[in-house]
Amino acid sequence: MLLVLRCLVTVLHGALMFALAPLLLGVVTKIRARLLGRRGAPVVQPYRDLWKLIHKIPLIPETATELYKIWPFVSFAAVAVVALLVPGFTLGLATAGQSDLVTIIGLLALSRAAVMLAGLETGFGFGGAGAAREALFGIFSEAAALGVVLILVLIAGDPTVDGIAAFFRFGQVGISVSLGFALAAILAVALTETGRIPVDNPAGHLELGMVHEAMLLEYSGRYLALFNYTAGLRLMIWFSLIGTVFFPYRMAQAGDITGWPLGLAAWLVKLGGFAVALALFEVSTAKMRIFRVPEFLGVAILLGLLAAIFLFVAGRLGG
């Protein structure tokens, strides 16, 4: 019975993640437009864009190799697996045992590698520049992410997202300084990985300043649709991951079907809250220069180290 429920909730969770990812992008864009005093496109605009793109016949650049059509699928599949691993509204998904944070970081890196290779595919300047910048950001964001992983695993004593969330949901964890530092560090990593302001501007159309978009300039039609969809899914994953680990309030258990609606409502509220926060942050800051980003992420790495030190001191004082 429990197994059936776990499989059922996994399917439900996956379906919601995949279905709501473009909506999330639309909501963030809408709130941003409202904050800037514009009316903005309707929140379903990303769905319309995807629909339009998949109905266009893709143009394949003549200098592309056979792998040109493979990269969007690799990038999508790696992120889609992560979407099934990161819990949203319930704990105890059928994939919980695999949701190790190191695996998740690795799969996101795999997706990033596929996008970078797509940027280098036709050998044009902007794609290469975008890939080089993405590579630079990846170096620092992986270091910062691993620092945070170390702290979370040490606090919770479990390497899986599911275990960590369960520990924070049901264990006696007060508000600690090191968790605050870890949250700040992971937010910096999330902004980098999802390509939002201040690291990258998803609405920017100036080639010289683009990172993620620059790598996709030679893509069109359904392949571009897949890349854009993957970007939305990535935002969804980071929101869910931060919400699950740092704010696991009202998360349901897979075995307790009566708790699901409340968990679902809490998840949607969390996603909405993050969308508002992201939009507020984006309208209140400007995009950084490319070479400021390593400093920004360097601060995240140092916050991770500081969090580890505070954690140790707290452990010694408390025990």
Partner: protein, 551 residues
């Protein structure tokens, strides 16, 4: 056992040496298939490695180790760099002599910290551990690709085997600082190796730098295991050993694969500089796919052959941080950050290798005209690719197979099941990708059209530049430029200089010059100066004698 002349040679095999023999077998087979099967020197090299692994006494071990060094020196000397350039071979011979000078006393001295220190210097220099790594990126690319493959994949592992054999088995009283020293050297190698792989343009040198990084990763694992064993923590020791041995196995498969591929690229295009390649995936599709597999291993991407080891290593670091005091806590957190940095750098280097060399447009006519690699070369690489499959998809089984070796090193080890199941993830990924593919086919527009690439708005290239102007393409140097600015300049200086070279090789070379000048001056001394030396020596001797008697 020490082993003396007159007693005969003792050979033996136990799980540890069997594991390393298994590591050696595929790459030797592949190298033999690809090109080196008729070279006597190559087989002497292999014989030396096998002898070092099978040795059951110190004498046989040293004999095998030195046979391996000498034969590989000949192979480096015979290498395919410019015929007049003997510098890699000379540097290599110097390192081999230094390593022998440290290793021979180490194995015959009584067990203890001095012996381990010498062992670490000797075998570490041979393995390419920082700060004694500078020879490796110069000497490994010099010989033919098959020899480079076995040197990078096999020889450095034999050196690590010597460290494992003596550190864990022969020297019984393990001190905690041994592991710390190994970890520090490993962390330094990881950082410098991954940065070097990112900044270098020559394909084979990129691979050699990446070898420095992977040796560092293995050394970090061994260091954690040694430290944990000294502190009596069998669980942590076994996880760290699993990481180190699995990492050694994986590196022993994908690195020879990449080196053989680099050799084929050199044969097809006449160059291995990434700035002169490009678009090889079109002319050499099979080779390109095999290189892609190797690159996934080099970057330690999930579902590739290298990820399971990296996964275990990170968990070992996290567990070690939780077990130690405050210094260890901070140190291991920093180590996790260093491993993250180097993982990102390795990913960037692998993407650069594939993206610049194999994707995009050709940068030279030779790259445009490249034809598929020879059949034997492809077969050799396919052998190694097949060996990658269990490491990539069923690392749990591989770990179960190497369990006896871990039990030999840590007798009370508790085997932990691997929490990373790539087979399930791979199935899930394939299903999701297939769903996306068929969904797009069902609801999207069919068909596609080939078009001139947009190429940033550049017009159609002139007829005499069929692939567009190469300078409008991103180059390997340009791809590395952001990393050079952010990490390379602070760590290596404005002119990228390897610290191992600046602080170790250059002072040694200066000292050598000074000593040579002194000796030359002594040789040219006149008869009066010589008599003065003798007289001064006599006076000093008498003074010393007199002072000694008075005291």
């Amino acid at each position: 056992m020490v082993g003396l002349p007159g007693q005969g040679m003792h050979l033996g095999i136990d799980p540890l040496s069997a594991l390393f023999l298994c590591l050696l077998a595929p790459q030797v087979l592949a190298a033999a298939i690809a090109m080196e099967r008729k070279s006597v020197t190559f087989w002497m090299f292999v014989l030396g490695m096998v002898l070092a692994l099978l040795a059951a006494d110190a004498f046989a071990l040293i004999l095998g180790f030195e046979l391996m060094s000498a034969a590989s020196w000949l192979l480096v000397l015979r290498g395919d760099r410019q015929p007049g350039d003997r510098r890699p071979a000379t540097l290599y011979a110097g390192t081999a002599l230094f390593s022998a000078a440290c290793l021979i006393p180490a194995v015959f001295l009584p067990a203890g910290s001095v012996a381990f220190g010498l062992l670490l210097l000797g075998a570490g220099a041979k393995a390419g551990l920082a700060p004694l790594h500078s020879w490796l990126p110069r000497a490994h690319p010099a010989p033919s690709a098959a020899v480079s493959a076995v040197m990078s994949g096999g020889m450095v592992k034999v050196a690590l085997y010597v460290i494992i054999r003596y550190g864990f088995v022969v020297f019984a009283a393990i001190q905690p600082w041994w592991g710390v020293a190994l970890m520090l050297a490993g962390a330094a190698s990881v950082l410098i190796g991954s940065l070097g792989a990112m900044l270098e343009v020559e394909l084979k040198t990129v691979l050699a730098w990446s070898t420095v990084e992977h040796v560092g990763l293995i050394a970090v694992g061994l260091g954690i295991a040694l430290h944990a064993r000294a502190l009596d923590d069998p669980v942590l020791a076994s996880v760290a050993l699993q990481a180190a041995l699995l990492g050694a196995l994986a590196h022993g498969v994908f690195k020879p694969l990449l080196f053989l591929g680099a050799g084929a690229v050199k044969q097809a295009t006449g160059t291995t500089s990434l700035d002169g390649l490009g678009g090889l995936m079109r002319g050499m599709p099979r080779l390109g796919m095999l290189m892609l597999l190797g690159a996934a291993g080099m970057a330690a991407l999930p579902l590739g052959p290298g990820f399971a080891a990296e996964f275990l290593l990170l968990h070992a670091v996290i567990a070690a941080a939780g077990a130690g005091a405050v210094i260890a806590w901070i140190g291991f957190t920093a180590l996790a950050a260093v491993l993250g940095l180097s993982a990102g750098l390795a990913l960037a280097a692998a993407v650069r290798m594939i993206g610049i060399g194999f994707l995009g447009r050709p940068r030279t006519l030779r790259a445009a005209a490249a034809e598929e690699a020879g059949r034997l070369n492809l077969i050799a690489m396919a052998v190694l690719a097949v060996c990658c499959v269990p490491l990539a998809l069923t690392p749990g089984w591989v770990l179960r197979a190497i369990q006896p070796a871990i039990l030999l090193l840590v007798p009370d080890a508790l085997p932990q099941p691997l929490a990373y199941a790539p087979l399930q993830l791979a199935i899930l990924m394939v299903l999701l990708a297939a769903a996306a593919f068929f969904g797009l086919r069902r609801w999207g527009a069919r068909g596609e059209r080939e078009a001139l690439s947009w190429n940033g708005g550049f017009g159609k290239p002139p007829v005499w530049l069929p692939f567009g102007d190469p300078v409008t393409q991103p180059s390997a140097t340009g791809f590395a430029e952001p990393v050079r600015r952010v990490l390379g300049v602070p760590l290596l200086g404005r002119m990228p200089m390897d610290p191992g070279e600046t602080y170790i090789l250059a002072p040694l070379s200066r000292m050598h010059l000074r000593l040579t000048r002194l000796a030359e001056w002594l040789r040219r001394a006149t008869i009066r100066q010589r008599l003065a030396f003798v007289f001064a020596a006599l006076v000093i001797f008498l003074l010393a004698l007199g002072l000694g008697q008075n005291a």
